[in-house]
Every structure is written in C-alpha cells, then in structure tokens.
C-alpha cells in the first residue's frame, strides 16, 4: 500500500519503525547495514562478485532476470541488462500478476484507487480475500470519514468468515461462504440476472442459496459507489484469470445503472513498479524476452517456474531487495542473487551480492498497488551497501567489457 505516513527513528543499527504498528513495515526497516558478497558461499569483494556474475550471465544463452524485488531505479537497470544479455524478465509475483493481466488484456476493466475508496465506497465486496495481507487497508481506506458527508458503509466478504475484519464505526460487515474457485460462477450468474435472465431453476449458485444471491445483487445495485476487491495472489487455482474476468464483467454490467469499480490488491516487492517500467519501455507488462527482432511477450510461457523447470533459461539473476525470505526458487542452472544482506539460503547461489533496501537504505521511486501514485523513496538509514541499480550497472559494465 506504500503507506507514506510512517514514522521512523534512528536506532543503534539503522532505523526502527515508531508508528503505526504494521508488521510488514517493521520487517522492512529491521535490516542490517552491512553485508558480505559471496561466491559459492565464500567471501569476496563486490567487484569480484560482479565480475563473476557478468561472466556467468554473459555465458548464458537466455538468462532469466527474475525476482525484480526492487524499485524503479533497479527495474530500469534490470531491463537494460536483460536487453544486453538477451534475457527474459518476470517478477517473483508473476503468477498472481498475470492472473490480472490476462483478464485485463482479454477485456479491460473498470477500476478505482485507494483515495476514491476512502471517500466514496458505500459497499465493499471482498471477493476471495479478507484483505488481511494488507494490515492497514481498513484503517486507511474504509474507516476514515468521507469528504462527501456521512457514508454508511457495508462490507461483504465472499469467501471465508469475516472474523479478521476490524470493528469500525458506521461499517457493517457480513459474509457469504463461497469457495474462491466458484466465485466466477457466482459473478456470471449475477451478471445474467442483471441482464434479465431468470435463475429460478437453481436453488443455489456456487453453493450460495439463491435468495442470498438475490439479496446481495439487490444491495449491489443499490450502492452509490461499490467497490469489488480481489487479490490475485489469493486466487491461487487453475484459470483464476477467468474468475477475475467474471468479476470485472460484473463490475462493468453494474455500471449500466450505478457506479462500481474493481480494486485489485497487489503491490508487493515492487511488482507494480516492475510491470509499469517494463510496460513503458517495451510495451509489455513483463514476461518478455529481448530477442533479435525486438521484445517478445509470452504471458503463458515466460513464467519463472516454467522457464526454470523446462530449462528454457540457462542462468538466473534473482533480485530481492525488500524481503530476505524471498529467496530464489530451486533451479538447476547457475544463479546470481542480489538480495538483502540478511538473506539466508538453503543452497548457496553461485554469486550472492548484498544490496541496500530501497526506501530504507537508498532513495528511489516506487508505485503503489493502483499504479497511479508513485512515491519518492528516501533513505532514512543510508548504508555502505550498493543499491540494485548500482550493482547491475557494474555488472553491465563488465558484460560490455567482455563483449568488447
């Protein structure tokens, strides 16, 4: 959510989050200010590590530049290097991102942004998520007062129980039990009902009693500004893109009479920035290979897991500057990792280069989940560690040198 209201204080080692309480932000700020470059687990200098990385990567026919957990300055450098190497790019959350992109590229959608939700939303339907992966979503987008006068808000959770949703003044919460992989069916029937099709024949829809479906639909039609929220990462089943398509089609249909928007939750480990930067530079939102004739986009073929499993890539450059737990997936090919200094491996990569954390240890730019707001990142705890962009520039220099 890229909260920009955090207060940090300088601690003995780096900085500490003072307020508000957010487990995700606390982890981000608890970062060591020193690290050690490693080749096969043995300490080396930064320059040695970069040289070794350059040799390893330029020897590959098609390297995967993956992870991409960094900010725009890092993404720009990663795309430059991928272009130079003839590599392919994908983000560590590519599987979730492409559930959205596939739906988007098939039919488009109608969406909204966080401040619109905060000020306008009177009915929020959470589809297959309770938003608990975004600890401050309710505090920042649902609980506060609207600038358009009194709003009586309703939240409906489609999925599990709504127990995790905080109690908020003026906000009523209810839930309907639906399996996530049957949400698409539910939305399709609701859209059919909006179009005037009778569903009298069925006693229930996707396991929800027909009367409850009708009641929900009536509420949704009565909303002044409804928001349908989903989190592609939580829709983790085959063909979930079709569920998202069904959701956005329902949103479109509701707009014939009232206002509705979708809100796809996301924005983790720089995934929004990675997709945005790749889109403006190549035309495609990642899963793109730099080939002789130009960028080639294969959303179904160029996923990290598949590329590593099939051996279609023969080297991996993994970037994860925010989260030390986001280690690279198991790979049979040689690997270079640019990670947080406190990253620990089950199996040491060929080259490990510790990097500064964007927004903590180096400045830059990062997009929020809605891609509209890009914030400037500052460096409240500058460290001697290089940023991703700096390391990639050194590697690129070595690659150019080797090619000359």
């Amino acid at each position: 959510m890229l909260c920009d209201d955090l207060e940090v204080s300088r601690a003995e080692e780096g900085v500490r989050l003072e307020r508000p309480a957010c487990p995700r932000a606390s982890r981000l700020f608890a970062v060591p200010d020193q690290g050690q470059a490693l080749i096969a687990g043995l300490p080396v200098s930064l320059d040695e590590a970069c040289r070794s990385a350059a040799i390893l990567l330029s020897g590959a026919r098609r390297p995967l530049i993956g992870g991409l957990g960094c900010d725009v300055t890092g993404h720009r450098a990663a795309l430059l290097l991928a272009e130079k190497l003839g590599g392919v790019v994908d983000h560590m959350h590519g599987a979730a991102q492409f559930r959205n992109w596939q739906a988007f590229q098939n039919g488009g959608w109608m969406t909204t942004t966080l401040s619109e939700v905060r000020n306008r939303a009177d009915l929020i339907v959470l589809a297959g998520t309770d938003a608990s992966r975004y600890p401050r979503f309710f505090e920042r987008c649902i609980a506060p007062a609207s600038q358009f006068g009194e709003l009586t808000r309703k939240i409906v959770v489609l999925g599990g129980p709504a127990a995790s949703i905080p109690v908020m003044d003026g906000v009523s919460v209810s839930s309907l039990a639906v399996d996530a992989d049957r949400l698409g069916e539910l939305f399709a029937v609701m859209r059919a009902r909006l179009a005037g099709t009778s569903t009298d024949v069925a006693a229930d829809v996707a396991g929800v009693p027909a009367a409850q479906v009708e009641a929900l639909l009536a509420d949704m039609r009565a909303a002044r500004y409804g928001v349908l929220v989903w989190n592609a990462a939580e829709l983790d089943f085959p063909h979930a893109d079709l569920t998202i398509e069904s959701a956005v089609n329902l949103v479109k249909a509701l707009n014939q009479a009232t206002r509705w928007s979708g809100l796809p939750l996301g924005g983790n480990d720089g995934d929004t920035s990675a997709a945005q930067t790749c889109t403006w530079q190549t035309g495609y939102p990642l899963r793109t290979a730099y080939e002789i004739a130009g960028p080639r986009y294969e959303p179904l073929l160029f996923g990290t897991d598949r590329l590593l499993k099939t051996g279609e890539v023969d080297a991996l450059l993994w970037i994860s500057a925010f989260d030390p737990d986001r280690t690279p997936p198991a790979a049979d090919c040689p690997s270079v990792v640019l990670g947080r200094a406190d990253m620990r491996f089950a199996r040491a990569p060929d080259v490990f280069i510790p990097v500064a954390v964007p927004g903590v240890q180096h400045a830059g730019f990062l997009h929020r989940m809605d891609a509209v707001v890009a914030l400037p990142l500052t460096a409240p705890a500058p460290s001697s560690l290089p940023g991703v962009a700096q390391v990639l520039a050194i590697i690129q220099g070595e690659v150019n040198h080797a090619a000359a």
């Binding site: 590229q105 039919g107 000020n119 206002r259 403006w280 530079q281 035309g283 130009g294 509209v372």
Partner: protein, 554 residues
C-alpha cells in the same frame, strides 16, 4: 562552428519565407553570421533543401498512466511493429501505443524536437515524469489536469476567492512540474463518479452544483493571472457527441475574451443533421475560430486504421466503450483527482461516421485562416498515431491527393462534406507556422521553433520532394541543440531531452488548507505529491528548463 549553407529557410517567427540563407551553429545555438575570421569546422551544402526549425507537438499523449494502460492493453498491436535494440537504441514497440524509447526515436526521425503530454494528472505526475524520462531525443513537457479534482471543486463550490484558486493552480503547476493547465470535460470526470453520464456546459455538477462554464472561467482566469504563457488547454464537454458544436461554441464564449485553447476540436465539431443524425459543423466552428482571436485550437485529425483512444475523460470514454475495437476497454476513477478511459478504436474509411470525422478535421484545417491559431495534431494516438503526420501534411498541401482520398471514403460521408469545394493548399511557410513557430509562441518557448540568432539549434533539413508525405517522413538531417541526431530519417546519435516547466509565483499559504485536506481525506501526503526540481533529472530528463511567469494582478 557549423555552417549550413544555401538552404531554403522557412522561419515564420522571423518572417523568412523560403529565402536562401546560411545558418551558423555554435555551442548548441544558432548564431549570427560571423565575421570573415570565424573558424568553420564543418560545412554542409543544403542547396535545394528546405530548412525549418525542429517541429513541436503541443498535444500528444506520449507518457503517463493512461498511455501505460493503453500499452499493456494492446500486445496484439505491438506484435505487428516490434523494434529491436540497435545502434545504441533500445528495443521496444511502435504503432498506436509505442514504447517510450520508440516514441522518442520516431518523433526525432520525423524532425520533431519537442513534445508535450497534454493530460498529466497531478497525482500521477511522478509516474508521468518517470515515463517521459525514458523518452529520448526530444524535449518534453506536460500539462497538469485540473477541473474535476475535488479540492478545486470544493473551492469553487464554496465561492473561494479567485486569488486562492490562482494559488492552488500555481501550486499544482509547481508541484507537478507542469508547463500548462488542461481541463478535461470540466467537472465531468468528477460528475461521472457520482453516476452522472453527461454534463453540458451550463448543467450543475450533481454534488458541487457548479457548472462546467464556471470551471472553465475560474481556470482560464487563474492561468491568465499567473502569467502562464500557454492559455488554458480545454478538452470541452460532450466530446464525440453529435450536436456538440453548440457546446464547443459556448465553451469559446465562456472564456469571455481570455485566452483559451480548444484541443482536438475535430471531436467537438459535430451536428445532428441528416438521416444518421450526425453531420459536420466544421464551417460554424471555423467561422467562430476565425472571429475570436483569443481562441486557438488543435485539430485532432482522424486518419484511418487501428489506434487506441486514451483520455482523462472517463465519462465520455465509458460512453464510447461500445465502439471498442478490439472489444476491450479500461475506465478508471482516480484518487479524487481525475479519471481516465482507454478504448481501442479502428477508424474505417468506409464507415460513415469515421469518414465524416476525417473530412471534418480536414475542413477545419482548411477553413481556419490563421495558421498561428490552429495546430497540427492527431491527438496522438486518439485520432491516429503521430507517425501519420507526414500523410496528414500531404493531405493539407496537395488538393489532388486529398480529393483522391475523398473518392475512397464512404460515399455518403463524402457527399455530405464540403471538403471537395475547398481549394486551399497549405504552403511550406504555413506548415512551418503550425508545426513550429505557432506552438513555440503559444507555449512561451522563446528560443525554440525558430532559426534566429540565439535560438536553440533544433534544425530540420528536408529534400524538396513533390510528394510531401515522403518529404516530411524522412528529413535528410535533424539537429538537436546543434548535434546531428538523424540522417536520412534514421537516428544516428541518441541524445536525451530536457523538461520544460513553468515556475509561476503564488502564495505558498495554500499549502495549509491543502495539507489539511490531504491529511484528512487522501491516502498520500501532500508533501509526497510534490516533485522536487532535483527529481526531474533522477526521473530521466537531461535537465529542467524552468520558465518564469510574469503574473498579472488578480
């Protein structure tokens, strides 16, 4: 020192119409004819060549959130025009929604040296500058969109003093590093969020009860008072709606004599005559433009083929979605600031409406007499991709060619249009006005768009080809700030461009209520919406070119 000798110079800002002269370039600038002792390091003989300043596109959607939505939406369009990495140029894609790199290369290859993104949402400003930072070759600038943002509408509805509005407009220009102010469907983008589907110029906004006319007036006044060179840039109400010519004329009148620029006026020149209730009002609109010297305009010419329409006008783009081709579209409500709509479109020459749109645009070009007040645009990519400019120039300069195209379009539309009766053919001098001198003057770029001593050495050299399309598609030489960047229509030297932004004076006291507003209602802090001057270069521009404004007393 570089001498460009014997070229035929078209430099309307200095009144030079096809005279053979020498140009001298030193330190990136055009310099006066030096004495006999001057050291000429390089000389190019341009005998028989046409020489103009670098072209300036003052309305082209080159970057920003909605262009990125368009790019992401259309992989099938990119696939037909892949661009490999080559000779220091980056890989990317071309055509309707080109990648940033390709946008810069292809503009330069047509002789353009500056491009202005006309619809930057202040809340999206940093993203827009990041995108524009990756557009090489040309200088850039952006217009900040206001008029449907809630802070402004609250002020207007509460009867705030014009001076406060001026301060807010000044703050917005400053904070978003913008060159001008644009209003899109005044108040209408906000009204759509309240489920209003159309808002004519004197209709009250459903929540704020203010009218688009009031929005236009307050903003036109603010831009004028702040001393911003470019007048309020207006995308009027009712875009694309048959019969909207009345609204367009009312919008011109709403300025009450203050300078105003009506953009992509082709999309706002429609009547309701005929069996299909869709007709040309180009004559009436052109007459008004000819009469009202406070009004300037760009055309937003439609040319046939696949493209994608991108607009801040979420209300009208939602209404247009049923025409989407391919059938997919995006509409977004944005951050109590604005909105956007992206609808792919295929203009077909055999389609009555599309053919008439084409004819209406050309009629406007030909009927508006003063080329200083009508600019060459396709509203890229909304009417057509910018790469079709050479074709458009030929349509304007070559009546026989134009009429041959008129023979190919939907016959009923051709019969409805008076285009065939218009004999005007643009001259090279007029083309130089509408694509160079006039946009530079309108934007207040005193050292661009002309070839006088002291001007930046943005110079384009064309072979004088009777086929004006071929001529304007491939300049023989393009110089940017004195450096040769294009030879025979191909980039030979990759350079980075600067960012133009105005720096008006305003009372920073406006930050107090604005900060309170942000803290209370928004999900981002006011301080983080603002872009510092330093960020312009970290976003990617070579430098910031600030333009001071001579404010007028409110």
């Amino acid at each position: 020192m570089l001498r460009l000798k014997n070229g035929r110079i078209y430099d309307p800002a200095n009144g030079i119409d096809g005279e053979v002269r020498d140009l001298y370039v030193e330190g990136g600038r055009i310099v006066a004819t030096p004495g006999p002792d001057a050291r000429i390091d390089r000389e190019i003989d341009l005998a028989g060549r046409v020489v103009m300043g670098g072209a300036i596109d003052l309305h082209t959607h080159i970057g920003g959130g909605k262009m990125n939505i368009a790019r992401a939406l259309l992989p099938e369009d990119h696939r037909a025009d892949p661009v490999p990495a080559m000779g220091g140029m980056h890989a990317g894609c071309g055509h309707a929604a080109p990648s940033t790199w390709t946008t810069g290369y292809r503009y330069a290859e047509m002789g353009y040296t500056a491009c202005f993104e006309p619809a930057m949402q202040p809340i999206n400003a940093r993203h827009t500058h990041l995108e524009m930072g990756d557009i090489p070759m040309v200088d850039k600038g952006a217009y900040a969109m206001l008029g449907s943002d809630d802070f402004f509408l609250r002020m207007l509805a509460s009867g705030a003093d014009q001076r406060l509005i001026n301060d807010y407009v000044g703050w917005t220009l400053d904070a978003s590093q913008a060159m001008a102010i644009k209003v899109v469907n005044p108040g209408g983008i906000s009204a759509f969020k309240f489920n209003t589907r159309s808002l004519d110029i004197d209709e009250a906004h459903p929540h704020y009860r203010v009218t688009p006319r009031q929005v236009v007036q307050a903003l036109a006044r603010a831009v004028h008072d702040l001393g911003v060179a470019h007048p309020l840039h207006v995308h009027a109400s009712n875009l694309g709606v048959p019969g909207n010519a009345d609204t367009t004329l009312a919008t011109m009148a709403a300025a009450e004599g203050l300078p105003i620029h009506l953009t992509h006026i082709q999309f706002h020149s429609y009547g309701t005559e005929g069996e299909r209730k869709f007709s040309s009002e180009a004559e009436r609109i052109a007459d008004a433009l000819n009469r009202m010297t406070n009004v300037s305009s760009d055309v937003g010419q439609v040319l046939f083929g696949q493209t994608v329409t991108v607009s801040g006008d979420s209300m009208k783009q939602y209404g247009n979605h049923r025409h989407a081709s391919p059938d997919k579209w995006v509409v977004m409500d944005i951050e109590c600031d604005s909105g956007c709509g992206v609808v792919p479109f295929k203009y077909r020459d055999k389609n009555f409406v599309n053919a008439l749109q084409w004819a209406i645009g050309l009629e406007l070009f030909l009927r508006v007499r003063d080329p200083w007040r009508i600019f060459l645009t396709t509203d890229h990519p909304n009417g057509a991709p910018f790469t079709s400019y050479p074709h458009l120039i030929r349509l304007l300069m070559d009546k026989r060619f134009r009429n041959s195209k008129l023979d190919e379009i939907n016959a009923e539309a051709a019969a409805h249009s008076q285009l065939r009766s218009l004999d005007r053919e643009y001259t090279l001098y007029e083309i130089a006005i509408m694509s160079r001198a006039a946009p530079a003057r309108s934007l207040g770029l005193t050292d661009r768009g002309h070839l006088g001593a002291g001007a930046a050495a943005d110079i384009v050299v064309y072979r004088d080809d009777a086929d004006r399309e071929a001529m304007f598609a491939k300049p023989e030489y393009v110089f940017k700030d004195g450096q040769l960047i294009v030879r025979d229509g191909k980039v030979v030297n990759v350079v980075n461009g600067a960012l133009h932004a105005v720096k008006p004076e305003y009372d920073k006291g406006i930050e107090k209520p604005l900060k309170e507003y942000f803290d209370r209602y928004m999900t981002v802090r006011m301080e983080n919406v603002r872009l510092s001057d330093d960020e312009i270069c970290t976003c990617g521009a070579s430098k910031l070119i600030p333009h001071t404004c001579k404010g007028r007393k409110a």
